[in-house]
Point group: C2
Chain length 216, copies 2
């Protein structure tokens, strides 16, 4: 198909398609004449993946290029590709190296031991978790790690079980990897939206009007 049809099929404008080709997010079409390129279904699929990562995942063009390079490198395991994707979703900086950070690191390690999770201490998600717990601690919300963290962890386990079962249905490596990236990035968006909706529901049930509890 020509670039015009590729644009129609995906809802991505022609200048944007050309920009993605220049930026290495989309392979160039096959030249059928000096100024006409032909695209196929693999381009449709790739463009939809790129748009999903941008629109729903909020990833930058540079981040997507990194993730796609990892997806296309047959020497990288699914874990490594997911690590690349996750590094770009999780914020990078995590606040000062203070007592709250030390406490949070310990809370994260203890949680992982308590749940019996098989994860390395240097997994970037351990750091992201500790960063978030440290931020709770600095704001005087140490209580969060005591009263809520295990409920979150148990919920995460149930979700991870369906995530892994979902990806396991794919047969080819490329499909496993793509499916895992899509599931990780879009799944986060689904989960945070659902959490918000469930909060609205729980709050409406607790307070009727959806107002906060009256001050004493």
């Amino acid at each position: 198909m020509r670039v015009g049809e590729l644009s129609r099929r995906t809802g991505v404008s022609v200048p944007t398609i050309k920009y993605y080709v220049r930026e290495g997010l989309l392979p160039a079409g096959e030249l059928s004449s000096p100024n006409q390129a032909r695209y196929d279904e693999s381009h449709v699929r790739r463009l939809r993946l790129v748009r999903a990562l941008i629109d729903v995942g909020g990833l930058s063009v540079a981040a997507i290029r990194d993730v796609l390079e990892a997806v296309e490198d047959p020497d990288r395991s699914v874990h490594e590709v997911l690590g690349a994707a996750h590094d770009h979703i999780a914020p990078r900086e995590g606040g000062p190296d203070d007592a709250a950070r030390d406490t949070a690191r310990r809370q994260a390690r203890e949680l992982i031991a308590r749940r019996g999770w098989l994860v390395d201490d240097d997994n970037p998600a351990v750091r992201s978790l500790a960063d978030a717990l440290a931020a709770f601690g600095r704001l005087g919300h140490d209580r969060f790690a005591e009263v809520s963290l295990d409920v979150y962890a148990e919920a995460a386990e149930r979700i991870a079980a369906v995530d892994v079962a979902y990806v396991a249905r794919e047969v080819a490596r490329e499909d496993v990897v793509e499916s895992a990236v899509v599931g990780t990035v879009l799944g986060d968006a689904v989960l945070t939206s659902l959490r918000r909706l469930a909060q609205v529901d729980a709050s409406a049930r607790a307070y009727g009007t959806g107002e906060p509890p009256a001050t004493a």
Copy 2:
């Protein structure tokens, strides 16, 4: 305290503190002489909140200004403030208005009806959810909504129950609202980190080496 001590206590540099004051994220200190301002514990707390929203939540300065304005407006309900916070976390654009979007909107509405959630159709999280489901659909992953969505929703319900119980322990409106914003933004970061760790664990258990299933 002087600005130097405020900087030491919070790990935020003096030029950055001054920038936040200019941008309206932090109230100016009380002038004790023409070129010296005094700060108190409320500034420490506010600075920590701003850093948590930037470092862990990934919010922009403009987004934080919006959220703080909502927090400080006594006429806004907790729901409205949380809506403001959530609008800034959730990506804004959601892909083309196509058949996948229509299907996703239906899936979102059906899910909400099935779970019996008390939420308005025009809640921004309904749109974010539909956007993410539409992106799954466009990538040929319609299956996600069938096999995984209710497990995600049930997990979200358990989390929302502890979230609402957590916030309900605060008494003053300002504390309820701040606690809800912190819990929403930082809780998302905790949850996505935990999901990633639980995925690593589930994958390691399923495949031993942490490698994808061998291709047939």
